[in-house]
Each structure stands twice: as structure tokens, then as C-alpha cells.
Symmetry: C2
Subunit: 383 residues, 2 copies
């Protein structure tokens, strides 16, 4: 079978249109080391999972992550292990993905841990906390700094095994109808910003609102809110916020390197053959990193489009706002640690890792970036 | 079979101590979707490869990358596809890995493209060029900016298919016996620095030498050279340069995000079943990203050790040196592009991508880093 045809075949299998047994031949074993023939190599059991995503297909990099997990697992298993991916609302509402996986309604879910801090406050660290880790630091902490073990312990309480599966990069600070001259301008400002970022914004005087993606644009247009944050240039451009709020602020200090996660029901996971478990872990690790690379390739030209074609003014948050945000963010995390020993256990690891990582990145990496980046092209900063 | 035992078994298989056929049973297919039993799922042909590395085992993150590729491929294929990894010099000298793969002496090699710019000047872009891409930019360019396709074309001339397989992060600027006060201090300075970085340092007046890893320390100790660069804190600490050259400079502008590559002999690759090819690609992508995460976890505490326990002074290259280095680096790349249409083809893609990426990272990412990183712990910068 030709390579191209074979891949199409595997995709069909993944989509469930190939009859049972079509890929079940067991050939090729015992070939010598030098002469190897192409052919079917996977003869494991057929497994079909439901995967509930918290996201909608228009967010094609984020929602694309579980689609890529499904596609790659189907490819590696030659269509024996498949996942049917449901967008937000198709199987369960987007914010109930964790519940659905815990209950076994879906064997897997794609979501953000910090949606569920009501269940367990330390789930915030699975995604992002204000002034937390950049993408590289988050990956280093999760995979090689003890972070993933801690997060596995937290998820185990919900019979879920979690896999980091999509880092989106530092978010932008969002869209403001009017310029922000100082932290005082946040007083009474009606901003759509969920999660811990919203908690800190409240401490800074903002009137925080939580709106679903589709409701933001009309609210901003009719003046029901003054500002909103979303993700970054590539995703923001699609929603058209620049048409109704022309000031695009940076940085998104409340989410320096947010990581989305694949949740897997423990019982479903334990029933997998070990090789399928290993493939799942391998693919999730790769998709986690790769999602960042996709954003890093897509965001720069999207920002260029926003600035050059739509006249968006990219601005830095004023220094006093940043100082106050740092202060209140640190206070918020300390307060949670006082309240919750479970939060503190992860917080201590986070803080210790950050205590070494930040000074290191402030050195070599930062010195390079500060010198080199501004030397190419026009600065995108105005005002 | 218990999970732990199974993994040990796979490791033994990978080491070649399990007889042919031991893993060849073809069971489990046709199981229902709900009841899945653990067991052997891979029944493909046995493949054993030789993998020649350009590195030595003491560089445990770099040389660990091909070891992890081999281990993970063996795990995913349940020991059916194994690779025996040879360190530099065991099968072929470290700088002849590409030749060995092209000739089929080894089916695979782990090396740095820029070792072979004598064969093809554009191979530099596979690893790093001065003032080129940071790790995130390099990954975005390779995987989602057309870079990998271009590098595949270059490698195809050598009957090699290349897989990015280990980003080491921005290198440090190296160890200097005496402080560097300005670019004028480079005149006549005897520095060990290979590759294009060495070419640019020569343009800046340095007397450049190329020494293998083991020869650097004694040369520095007896004063035969005045300075050397190596990799970064984690690897540098092991070689003990701080004992004979107390000034540790940053940044390593000649290698902002070097990527090491797995080379695979085309004929050996084509003989693989498609599922093994997919597993190899998947594992290499993951190991490429993961190598960076390992360095990002290891470098910060290594630098802390160098500063706090060994009294190393971490310093920034003076501004006039950086300006001159930028100028000469850009001139060097332009000169190569004039000489070689093959170089220009990749250079144009590189330059276009950098033209969008640098301004973007100069904005959001850089503004965040400049504010947040210095707020934690003591600055590691002296002098």
C-alpha cells in the first residue's frame, strides 16, 4: 500500500468508517533486520473513546490540539485506538468537561485545569497563575521540576490522570475602549476577565464580569463592558474586538504561559494495553509543546495584520498598574496558601522553581532578547 | 504481565537480550470497545538500527536525546524496533556522523547540521546562525514556518531525512580569563569557538581556535587560550572552566537556539513500515522540545551553583561588542547568500520569518520578561 493511501485509510479508520477487522491482519513479524517490508504492525485491541473538548472549532489551534491527539493516536495504532472529539456543548458544556471525564461520560476531555479551582484550588497551577511561569518555565517545571507529579496527585482525587497537552504562550493584556493611563483608570472599569486574573483585577478596582466567548463582542460594542481579554493576536483577530475597542494592551500578566490539559478517566486508562498508554503519553507531550510552536508561528503575522491593516494601537500597561498587579497577585497566592494546605503544597514547589528560573531567564535569555529583538523591523509599540 | 515488569522486559528487548520471536504473539485484536485487555499490541517486523552520536555520554542531556529516542521507540513498538546508540568515536568520529549515515554505516545519526557546512552552507540553518532564532522561534519556523521542508530538501541531496531532535536553548557567551571591557579587547584574544560564531569572532579581531571538548580545559589552564565557549551552565559546570577563567559572559549571540538533529539514511527509512515511520517522527518531535525543557530545568540551578558556590562573575558583553557582532553577523550571512544560491533559498525564508517574529517577541513576551523576571531573587549579573 502506498504511503499516501495508507494515511487516508488510517484517517478513515479514525473517523469510524472502516469496518471492524479491516485492520486486523497480523503480518510482517519475523522479518530479518535488513529486509523489512511495509505493512500492518499493530494488532492490538480496538478502542474507541469519546473526547469532550471545552473549546469550539473556530479556535483552531486550541481545539485542534485534541483533534491532533486523536489523529496521531489513530495513525500510530493504525486505526485500532480512536477518539471521537466533541466540541464544547456537543456532549457536555465546556465548563463541565472535568465532571464528564470523572463520571466516565467521556473517557477523555480537553480543558483547562483552572476552570475547576472550585473543586480544588491547586488546579490553578495546572494552567497558569498571575506572574507564574512562561511556557518554557511551565514545561520545565511540569516535566522536569516535579510539577506533573504534584498535579497528578491533585487529579487522582477525581479519578483522572492528566496530561499537559497545549501551551498557548503568554496571553495579550486585552482590548480596551479607552487608553489606560494609570492603575487608577481601572477603578470601576467593567472588564471581562475570568479566573484568578479576574480576582486580581477586582482587587485593583475593576468591576469584573465573566462572559462566554460569543457574548463578548456585542457587550463591548454596545458599551456594556469597557474592556475584555481573550487569548492572543491569532485568536483575537478572528473575534474582531479591534473593531470596537482600539487599544490592545500587553502583557497578559495573569497568564504568562497557560497550559491546557487532556483529562483521562482512570478506569478507561487502566484498561488500555501498556503500549497504547505509552503512545497516549508520548503524543500528549508532543502536542503540548507543538501547540506553542503553532501559536508562535501564527501570532506574529496576526499582530502585524492588526497593526498595519486595522490600525490597532499596541500599548504597554502603565508601570504603576504592573507594580500593583504584581503586589496583589503575590498577595492573592499567599492568601490561598494560608487557606488551603493543598494549595500550599503545590505553591511551595512553584515558588521554589520560580525563585531559580526567573533570575536565570532575567540573565542570559533576557539580555539576548532585549538586545536582539528590537533590531529587526519596526517596533509594534505605540503610545 | 504487570506494568513494571513489562517495561523492564521492553528495556531488555531494546538492549537486544530477548530472542527473536519472544514478542511476536498477535493477540488481542477484535476485543470489544468496552472490555480491553492489556497485552501485546505490536506485531510488526523486528528492526535493529545503529545510531551514531556526535556526543559523549557525559553531556547527559545532549547525548541523552538519542538514548531517549531509542528507549521510546523500543517502548512504543514493544521492543520490535530498536536502536543501538554509539557515542562519539565508538562507531565513527563525532564529526563524521553525517557521512556514516549517508554511507549506511549507521542507519541513524545524532549530530549538528552546522558541523557540515563544508558539504552544504545552508546546513547552518538546521542548527543555528548568529542572531538567528531563539528556541521557540526555531521550532515555530521549522515545524510551522516552512523551515523543515527547506531543510529536508537540503538533506535529500545526501540521501538523508532529518528530524529536529534536541534544542539546547540559548548558549552562554563563554569563559574569559580577563574581563572584556569593549570590542577592542577582542583584538588578538585567543578564543576557542567553532563554526560561524568563530568566523564572526575572527572578523571582530579574535584569534580563533578549534579544540575538542577534552582539550579545552588544559589549554585554558596553561594560558594557551584566553577564552572558550561551550554550551551553558549545566554542561559548563561539569568541565570546570570556572576554575581557570572566572568571567562568565552572556549572551551567546552566535547560537540563540541551537537544534540538534537525527539523521536517518533514506533507504533504511523507506524500508520501515509506515507506523514505525510515524512513531519515529512523533518521538523526534517530542524529544526535540523536551531537550529544551531539560536544559531549562537544569541550567538555572547550575548557574546558581557557579555564582554562589564558585564565585563566578556573570557579565554582559559590552554594548559596542554586541553592536559590532550584530553588524558582522549580518554581513557574514549576506556574504554567504551572495556566494551561494542554495544558502540564499533558506536565508530568505529565515529572514522573512525573523522579520515578523522578532518584533512580536520584542513586544508582549519581552515586555513581560523585562518586568517580571528581575523581581524574583537576586540578579545574577555582576560588573
Amino acid at each position: 500500500m502506498e504511503r499516501i493511501e495508507r494515511r487516508a485509510f488510517v484517517r478513515k479508520a479514525a473517523a469510524g468508517v472502516v469496518g471492524a477487522g479491516a485492520l486486523s491482519s497480523c503480518e510482517g513479524d519475523g522479518a530479518s533486520n535488513t529486509t523489512v517490508q511495509a505493512g500492518t504492525v499493530v494488532s492490538g485491541p480496538r478502542v474507541e473513546w469519546r473526547l469532550a473538548s471545552s473549546f469550539v472549532p473556530s479556535l483552531d489551534i486550541i481545539h485542534g490540539a485534541p483533534l491532533r491527539v486523536a489523529e496521531r493516536i489513530a495513525t500510530l495504532t493504525e486505526g485500532h485506538f480512536t477518539m471521537r472529539v466533541f466540541a464544547s456543548g456537543e456532549l457536555v458544556p465546556g465548563l463541565q468537561v472535568m465532571d464528564a471525564v470523572q463520571a466516565g461520560t467521556a473517557q477523555a476531555g480537553y480543558t483547562a485545569g483552572y476552570y475547576y479551582i472550585g473543586k480544588h484550588p491547586a488546579l490553578a497551577f495546572d494552567t497558569a497563575v498571575p506572574f507564574g511561569f512562561t511556557p518554557r518555565q511551565q514545561n520545565a517545571w511540569l516535566y522536569h521540576g516535579g510539577g506533573l507529579e504534584l498535579m497528578r496527585d491533585v487529579h487522582a482525587e477525581f479519578d483522572i490522570i492528566n496530561f499537559p497537552c497545549g501551551n498557548t504562550g503568554l496571553q495579550m493584556g486585552g482590548w480596551f475602549r479607552n487608553p489606560v493611563g494609570s492603575v487608577a483608570d481601572l477603578r470601576g472599569l467593567r472588564m471581562r476577565i475570568p479566573g484568578i486574573g479576574g480576582e486580581v483585577m477586582t482587587r485593583l478596582g475593576a468591576s469584573v464580569q465573566v462572559l462566554a466567548g460569543g457574548d463578548i463582542y456585542p457587550a463591548l460594542e454596545r458599551g456594556a463592558i469597557d474592556a475584555t481579554e481573550w487569548v492572543g493576536p491569532y485568536d483575537d483577530l478572528k473575534l474582531g474586538f479591534h473593531q470596537v475597542a482600539g487599544n490592545y494592551y500587553m502583557p497578559g500578566w495573569w497568564e504568562p504561559g497557560p497550559t491546557l490539559s487532556l483529562h483521562v478517566n482512570r478506569e478507561a486508562y487502566d484498561a488500555l494495553p501498556p503500549a497504547y498508554q505509552e503512545m497516549l503519553a508520548e503524543v500528549c507531550r508532543e502536542v503540548n509543546y507543538d501547540t506553542l510552536a503553532r501559536y508562535d508561528a501564527a501570532n506574529p503575522s496576526a499582530l502585524q495584520t492588526l497593526v498595519e491593516e486595522h490600525g490597532v494601537a499596541v500599548k504597554e500597561f502603565p508601570r504603576d498598574l504592573m507594580e500593583a498587579a504584581w503586589r496583589e497577585s503575590e498577595a492573592y497566592l499567599e492568601d490561598r496558601a494560608v487557606e488551603s494546605p493543598e494549595f500550599r503544597r503545590v505553591y511551595d514547589s512553584f515558588k521554589s522553581f520560580r525563585g531559580t528560573a526567573y533570575p536565570y531567564f532575567a540573565g542570559n535569555e533576557q539580555v539576548y532578547a532585549a538586545f536582539a529583538f528590537p533590531r529587526v523591523g519596526a517596533s509594534r509599540t505605540a503610545g
